[in-house]
């Protein structure tokens, strides 16, 4: 077990170092995405691409240490990377610790004690050495925490014993759901003490209890660790431990968390130290390596600049686009229109969203001015454009990178929005996480979802799956948009003939009042989605019956995969980026209506059917073409992407649906079978990572329909 306290000495070839660092970054990314979850992390050890090249990860090996220390140097100068390294390495440590047996645990402890003693000896001859005293001292304090858990060796042994006892005897449960199991346990112990205590403080009781345990051996075994609160932070934020006078009383089952926290602290010091060292590192080869690692790190992160959706939109066009907004943003928009004010963070969130949608800075200022010049509908807010306009203008320009530090901010990603703690009175956040049932239903009703869909979505939310709920909602929305009109064309017709800008409105109208077929069908889709638990091996999304396929992965095992995720033939990629003008989206003219009708019929047929097959080809000739394509893609299943040359399922797998390779996204822009119509649009970007992905998917759908109709005309 390694704490990575001092770097290894010796020689290693640059190439070896570089490749092992790359592997480590790739692996740590996997770890980072999984978090402290035993079962998910164990999965990792079965993934071929992680195991295959993992010699740099064999714990305690030289190359393990070398790659770790090199990454410290590579990451230390960037806040995001430092945070990543800290988090991922700590999780890795936590996992390693959780897997250790008694002998290893004891060994680890002895090692720490030895090192601490060494430090203490060094401290004695402080004056003579030129070492960085402060850091050494902090190290020592940290390690003392570990050793103080066990002034005499036997106490540590007992701690380990009771820790192992707790985990072993409940191993199955721990494996199934570690978090819940642990909560229960602490709760149980907490109850015990709450009953035992008088009225004043539980923690004091605990202290006595721990002392008693120390003195009288383990009458009830060693159940509690007394540690400075800094080493039980996760538990503290959940209020799962008692804290008194700066010490947390932690149940021994949390031992891995506590030790991992100590590891984290050590690493934090280490990174700080690296920050000082790296500046004096002038070897150009190292610099080049750091540059490559940086590139690898950011290649798929949230930082990826996807650009704006439209070249330019005007403030009054925002209202028409609202129907393409994800519920979070649509809610903000409606709130703004209704109350004429948004709280600070909600305003920030919405401004950035509109920015990435394509609202230019001056138009953004006009947009907000228009609202903020109206009297506030919410009592309390007394800000007004007339008085605070300067400040608002500054804020908007700041977000557009025109003021202050001139950072060109991107719109927030879903993860960030999900994790945000809302202030009371704040309207933002993710509706599928931050709204209670009543408000969510209201919102969905305002969005035009029918009751059945509302109920399904609400039930998903109670299952704590906000992002999946959003995805299902997107699917639903696509269907209502798609199916809107077999019998409704008449109603749409006058609208389509209107000046281009009104066409979207037609779609909005129709999705608000979905036809009865639309209802049942979309309902069916949603329910299949909910029932199937298998997920696509490529994008990680749920599979439904309509779009699953078995393909042979490079490892030889059969993976379930979305049709849409199948590597498409490297064909035309003309939709490389959706830099379109709003007018491009319009469906105009009589001819288009016929096409639409066709598409709609076909679509409804597809969605209603169990599986698309040859039989349908008679109904819609277009389908033959698409079906063939489907075969082609299947054949291409194990081949490499022609653009980037990497094996498809290999490089697209895992990592919370993040795209690792842009080329694939582009490739997947090629037309697909109709049944993948909707799912393909969602899955292009793996998963909804940013609220804008939702809008993009809907717009793409619309665009595709237009393309298809023109295509059929030809």
């Amino acid at each position: 077990m390694t704490f990575y306290i001092s770097p290894p000495k010796g020689n290693v070839s640059l190439q070896r170092l570089q490749s092992s660092c790359c592997q480590r970054v790739a692996f740590l990314k996997e770890v980072f995405a999984r978090g402290r979850d035993l079962s998910k992390l164990s999965e990792l050890t079965f993934l071929c691409n992680t195991v295959e090249r993992s010699d740099c990860l064999i714990e305690g090996s030289r190359i393990d240490q070398a790659s770790h220390f090199t990454l410290r140097l590579a990451c230390c100068q960037d806040a995001v990377m430092s945070h990543f390294l800290l988090e991922a390495e700590t999780t890795l440590f936590w996992y390693r610790f959780s897997c250790m047996a008694k002998k290893q645990l004891l060994h680890l402890f002895h090692k720490i004690r030895k090192y601490e003693k060494k430090l203490r000896d060094q401290q004695a001859e402080i004056g003579k050495s030129n070492r960085d005293l402060q850091t050494e001292k902090r190290f020592q304090v940290l390690l003392e925490v570990v050793t103080s858990l066990s002034r005499n060796g036997s106490k540590w042994e007992k701690m380990i014993q009771s820790y192992l006892h707790c985990t072993d005897s409940h191993l199955p449960e721990v494996r199934v759901n570690p978090a819940d199991y642990r909560t229960d346990l602490t709760t149980q112990y907490c109850t015990l003490h709450c009953h035992a205590r008088g009225t004043e403080t539980t923690s004091l009781d605990l202290e006595k209890r721990t002392q008693r345990d120390t003195h009288h051996g383990a009458s009830e075994e060693m159940t509690f660790l007394k540690v400075p609160f800094q080493y039980a932070l996760q538990l503290i934020s959940l209020r799962r431990v008692c804290v008194h006078k700066g010490f947390a009383y932690v149940h021994c089952i949390y031992l891995p968390d506590v030790v991992a926290n100590i590891f984290e602290e050590c690493l934090r010091i280490g990174i700080e130290l690296a920050r000082k060292v790296v500046l004096s590192l002038s070897d150009p080869r190292m610099q080049e390596m750091f540059r490559l690692l940086r590139l690898q790190f950011f290649e798929d992160g949230c930082r990826g600049d996807e650009g704006v959706v439209f070249d330019t939109i005007s403030p009054h066009e925002v209202d028409r686009l609202v129907d393409f907004f994800p519920p979070c943003m649509a809610h903000l928009h409606r709130t703004l229109r209704h109350k004429h004010r948004l709280k600070h963070f909600s305003r920030l969130q919405y401004t950035l969203f509109l920015k990435d949608l394509g609202l230019p800075v001056q138009e953004a200022v006009d947009f907000w001015q228009q609202e903020y010049s109206k009297p506030a509908c919410r009592d309390g807010c007394t800000h007004h454009w007339a008085r605070d306009g300067r400040r608002y203008t500054y804020n908007i320009r700041h977000l557009y990178g025109l003021e202050g530090s001139r950072i060109n901010y991107r719109s927030h990603c879903c993860q960030g929005i999900l994790e945000r703690i809302l202030q009371p009175g704040e309207e933002g956040g993710c509706p599928f996480r931050h709204f209670d049932q009543k408000h969510l239903q209201q919102l969905l009703a305002a969005e035009g979802a029918d009751t059945a869909a509302q109920n399904r979505l609400v039930s998903m939310v109670t299952n704590q799956k906000p992002q999946e709920a959003c995805q299902v909602y997107l699917l639903y929305k696509m269907q209502t948009t798609l199916l809107k009109g077999t019998g409704d064309l008449q109603r749409c017709a006058p609208l389509t003939r209107c000046p281009p800008s009104h066409v979207d409105l037609g779609i909005m109208e129709s999705s608000r009042h979905p036809s009865s077929t639309g209802d049942t069908l979309s309902d069916a889709i949603i329910s299949t989605r909910l029932i199937t638990t298998s997920s696509c091996s490529n994008c990680g999304n749920l599979l439904d019956k309509n779009s699953s396929n078995g393909i042979v992965s490079p490892t030889g095992s059969v993976d379930l995969i979305h049709d849409a995720c199948l590597p498409p033939p490297a064909k035309q990629s003309r939709l490389r980026d959706v830099h379109t003008n709003i007018s491009d989206l319009q469906l105009t003219g009589e001819t288009d209506h016929k096409c639409e009708e066709l598409i709609d019929k076909r679509a409804s047929f597809e969605y209603g059917s169990e599986k698309h097959g040859v039989g349908k080809d008679k109904e819609t000739p277009v389908l033959t073409y698409h079906h063939e394509q489907g075969n082609a893609t299947k054949d291409a299943g194990i081949e490499t992407c022609q653009e980037c040359g990497r094996v498809m399922s290999d490089c697209d797998a895992g990592l919370s649906g993040q795209e690792q390779c842009n080329v694939h996204a582009v490739c997947s822009d090629a037309p697909r079978t109709d049944s993948n119509f909707t799912s393909g649009c969602i899955l292009r970007s793996g998963r909804i990572r940013k609220p804008l992905d939702f809008t993009r998917a809907l717009l793409r759908l619309l665009e595709r329909r237009k393309d298809q109709s023109t295509c059929e005309m030809v």
């Binding site: 923690s203 007394t382 408000h439």
Partner: protein, 442 residues
């Protein structure tokens, strides 16, 4: 925004007018701002030499012009700079790895925020959904108890649970309070630790679209129990008399909304909440004032509990109390090491009030409306001169016997501040001795 405030001030006969600020600030910064103890606080006894000059200050000028990354070598430079710039507002930021002044000359990655006090910001606007008297930036004596409760609860937790010794509470000048935790180890806390502490202290969770913001589990955490005891002491006066939360139809409805409607998924069975809600509604219809109804409710819930109907929601009425009274921290302020917070003793530009320290021991008697405005203070200095009995005035050339602040109603606040700084100095005195001992070793 300051309408309510202006009314209050006019009552005091020395109305503060925003337009006077440019004239009053020079007097305030020249004669009243307590540079001495202020510098003593932020330099922490000079144990670490660079601590003060690596500290970021940020000034806000007229028309919301921000100047960030100001830093000063020592007290006199700070004094001079403040008096030259005459900031409308001063914010204190983090201690950086380099002098913030020079941040542009340092390599971008190297300039890092390293330490800062752990800060908390509690703002009355966050309580709008549970205040029946005012909203937004306005406050009155009917809702101020919320701040008193907040200070007591957070202060207790910081002291007893986390063992932080040096906590400075400051009135923000308008509608809230700030807390600065200044222990040495606290200033070094990482962002993760700050977040964890803030979350430990956050019970009321959710935004506008989450009506019921509190859910408590069995067993209640000792920290929440202690908080509840503090809130219990304010129930009668604050919740039932001042806010009268069950007094009118609308208010009652608002409280009952915290017992959410039937779960749509369990539509067939009525859920616990709905049953409880109906019973409580009946109870309330029996009449009486807020307190009567509440007492009836307590009885009802107790008997429901005995009948074992409340397994899933063991603390329904506690939850109401927590939602209405428990401190609502702005977690995002506490999280970051690099977050700026308004400095004590600056003037709130909109109300003209001084951001004075609050004596926690005597927090019940702290009256935000009695906090002096800059106009009052300047007038007080003038009036002091006019009093013939004061013997110190004729000799301005000699060492000032009576400092200007002592002539004004700011005295009490400066004394509170001095008391806090004195408490701090115990910490660094110990540290100095330790250091010199170490040096003496060899």
């Amino acid at each position: 925004m300051a309408e309510g405030e202006v009314k209050q001030s006019t009552a005091e006969n020395t109305a503060y007018d925003r337009n006077d600020l440019p004239e009053l600030l020079p007097i305030y910064y020249k004669r009243l701002f307590p540079y001495g103890p202020y510098y003593k606080w932020l330099s922490y006894g000079g144990v670490q030499k660079s601590y003060f000059h690596n500290r970021e200050f940020s000034f806000t000028l007229k028309d919301d012009i921000y100047i960030r990354y100001q830093s000063f070598a020592d007290q006199s430079e700070m004094e001079k700079e403040i008096q030259r710039v005459m900031p409308y507002k001063i914010d204190i930021g983090a201690v950086f790895s380099h002098k913030p002044k020079d941040h542009k000359t340092v390599k971008p990655g190297a300039f890092q925020a390293q330490e800062k006090e752990l800060v908390f910001d509690i703002d009355m606007t966050d309580y709008d959904d549970v205040r029946n008297c005012c909203s937004g930036a306005n406050i009155c004596e009917k809702c101020w108890p919320l701040m008193v409760i907040a200070i007591k609860i957070v202060d207790r937790a910081l002291r007893d649970d986390f063992g932080f010794e040096h906590r400075l509470w400051v009135y923000s000048g308008r509608r809230g309070v700030h807390c600065w935790v200044c222990d040495e180890s606290t200033r070094q806390l990482s962002q993760t630790a700050r977040t964890a502490i803030a979350e430990y202290l956050s019970v009321v969770k959710g935004g506008e679209s989450q009506t019921k913001k509190v859910s408590l589990r069995e067993p209640m955490h000792p920290s929440l129990k202690a908080a509840f005891e503090i809130m219990t002491k304010h129930l009668k006066h604050y919740l039932f008399e001042q806010q009268d939360i069950l007094g009118t139809e609308d208010r009652l409805k608002k409280v009952l909304r915290l017992f959410p409607e039937a779960d749509i998924l369990l539509r067939i069975r009525k859920n616990t909440w709905q049953i409880l809600r109906e019973i409580l509604q009946e109870d309330a219809e029996k009449g009486g004032d807020s307190e009567d109804i509440w007492k009836r409710w307590l009885g009802t819930v107790r008997s429901e509990k005995e009948r074992d109907n409340m397994k899933k929601s063991p603390f329904p009425l506690h939850e109401v109390v927590f939602q209405y009274c428990y401190p609502r921290l702005d977690v995002n302020v506490s999280k970051g090491v690099n977050h700026l917070l308004k400095s004590p003793f600056c003037i709130h530009p909109k109300t003209g009030r001084v951001c004075v320290p609050i004596d926690v021991e005597d927090v019940d008697n702290f009256d935000p409306f009695a906090v002096p405005t800059i106009s009052t203070l300047c007038k007080e200095i003038d009036e002091y001169k006019e009093q013939p009995g004061k013997e110190n005035e004729p000799q301005p050339g000699t060492k000032r016997k009576v400092q200007d602040y002592q002539k004004t109603s700011l005295k009490k606040s400066v004394d509170t501040f001095n008391k806090f700084v004195k408490g701090l100095s115990v910490m660094w005195r110990g540290k100095m001795i330790e250091n010199s001992d170490q040096k003496g070793d060899f």
